[in-house]
Symmetry: C2
Subunit: 347 residues, 2 copies
């Protein structure tokens, strides 16, 4: 049985849409058990009303403290009766196998990093995003969990990304790159220049420097970067996508024929939107945590939550962490051993 | 008279489209004089054929050596008979007032930085891009001229961006931000944390941290970052735009009605493409160089070259560098003085 913690209080549409997402998942996947963590007074009526047939397959864990969407991660770690904290503790204590939350990303990250923690072979977990490209997907990581990183962390991210691409996305022998500002070895900032030779030494399918354009053109399957650059790119890309759609709408509204055209194109545009929509994928995984942690969009609805639960199941079913451990040893063990004692800066 | 060097050999469609762009500008703007720099054997026949009425308003300067699109900047600086090198020298010697090139960006940058050079008040020139947003434009800089920078350089970029926004884009009292990964002061990497208080001390309209999304949503007029992050964002954004268009095309091709819809929407989509197209703006300026340097896209056609020449004229007509000097003194003089002697890291 797969036991999952659902943070019932996180997200713009909590608790109703979150709880409904959990109910969807319970109905669809008979092998799961859910902990609905949050304010019992608010959660119980929904479950009593809409999930009477599912008794015994879930448990409500009361956690009354609230975490605001803009609360700082350090404050969140002190709110021991919040749904996020209580939920993460259930995972840490081995009572649950995964965590899904639509709460404040920084807060989910904080409990993922500091309460659940990374597997012992890693110093840090990492957030990876699978960007759509015309040929498939490209995983970019880290996109925000780790701001100031050392070369050895980027090597770990590369193995994490490789494992994600191969196990979850089904990309065999993924092409791995490091984000830089020119194709040739030697281009980039200090971090890139120091990491490049280390990646070359690993047994990964390391292709070399990737440029910004390579995130969306399908030339790489995995691209590593520090969490500062990755986060900026992630937010800029989401925002650019919205801006383009808004500008299309504006231009379209100026002409009757264009409006008619937009109407006819709607199914195609919706298909595209689905391709680009995080809700379809179930959010962003915190990779390398001791148990799967899925961070969904704050705007997540029931369907997005169902998808996030499904995504967490995928990680569990693929024994993601076992494979990751093997890969860390087999693909980059030597490099990681060599750089272990703070020597990561002088490779 | 405004005397401009046109690098006739740079770009995918050189020399024909480049020379034709120069001819367009000569016909439209009676106050300019052009140096067509490049292989005389190739340039002269075009001019003889298509610009016989313009004699006396241009000069061909022979520069036979070729610079390949992928040639390293350090090699370019040794090619003293290349059009780029010869052209930059004309500017340095005061014989010309500006330079336009569609050549290899790294090469144009190299001659801009090392042959033309920055005005004496600046350590480094910077490349700024004016991204379109639904409300207007947002200037992001640096996008590639400077990879590893210090806080004081970001302060200089902020003043450069302010001046560009106010003088060239006509945005009064532009809102200036620093690119980071969270809104609150204290969020970001070391560089951001050190630069934030310096920017607060200037007399710029400093609004605080900007996030990736703010590049495209119109909340900021100027956003500064190091050239590594900026270059990644620039290339990722261009590429994402292309990917979205490609995916729209693909989705559309699956249905007759969608195809018809796309046809009806075409004028609206073209208007949008124009909005986002560098060719319309005349390329990317190297800001803070002793004379205006415009770097146009490698795919620049005659119209793009004409626009780049017009853009260089704008800088010249607005006495951009004089205003920039004033602004550096009046808006950030104290901060820049204070951080002058290598103390830029301990603000």
């Amino acid at each position: 049985m797969f036991r999952l913690v659902l943070d019932a209080m996180g997200g713009d549409y909590a608790p109703l849409q979150i709880v409904r997402g959990g109910i969807l998942a319970l109905k669809e996947f008979p092998e799961i058990f859910l902990y609905f963590v949050g304010d019992e007074e608010k959660i119980k009526p929904i479950l009593d009303r809409e999930a009477s047939s599912l008794k015994g397959r879930y448990e409500i864990v009361h956690a009354p403290e609230e975490v605001a969407m803009n609360e700082s991660p350090s404050r969140v770690l002190k709110k021991r009766n919040s749904s996020l904290y209580v939920g993460a503790k259930l995972v840490r204590e081995g009572k649950a196998d995964a965590l899904v939350s639509a709460g404040n990303t920084g807060a989910v990250l904080a409990v993922g990093k500091f309460i659940i923690g990374a597997i012992e072979e890693l110093e840090r977990p990492s957030i990876g995003v699978a960007f759509p490209n015309p040929k498939g997907k490209t995983v970019l990581l880290d996109v925000g969990a780790n701001v100031d990183v050392k070369p050895r962390h980027l090597v770990q991210f590369a193995v994490i990304g490789h494992t994600y691409a191969e196990e979850i996305l089904g990309i065999k022998n993924p092409r791995v790159g490091i984000l830089s500002i020119g194709e040739e070895e030697g281009k980039g900032n200090e971090l890139v220049k120091e990491t490049y030779p280390l990646l070359k030494e690993t047994k990964l399918n390391f292709v070399g420097n990737a440029e910004g354009r390579d995130i969306f053109n399908g030339n790489f399957d995995v691209i590593v970067c520090d969490g500062f650059v990755g986060n900026v790119v992630l937010k800029a890309s989401e925002s650019l996508g919205f801006a383009i759609l808004r500008m299309i709408k504006e231009e379209v509204s100026r002409s009757f024929w264009a409006k008619l055209g937009a109407l006819l194109m709607k199914p195609a545009l919706m298909a595209l939107k689905r391709k680009a929509d995080f809700a379809e994928y179930g959010g962003i995984p915190l990779l390398g945590a001791k148990a799967p942690v899925m961070i969904t969009h704050g705007r997540a609805n029931a369907k997005a939550i169902r998808n996030a639960i499904k995504a967490a199941m995928d990680f569990y079913d693929h024994h993601f962490n076992d494979v990751l451990r093997e890969n860390l040893k087999n693909l980059a063990g030597e490099v990681l051993n060599k750089t272990k004692n703070g020597n990561s800066n002088n490779s």
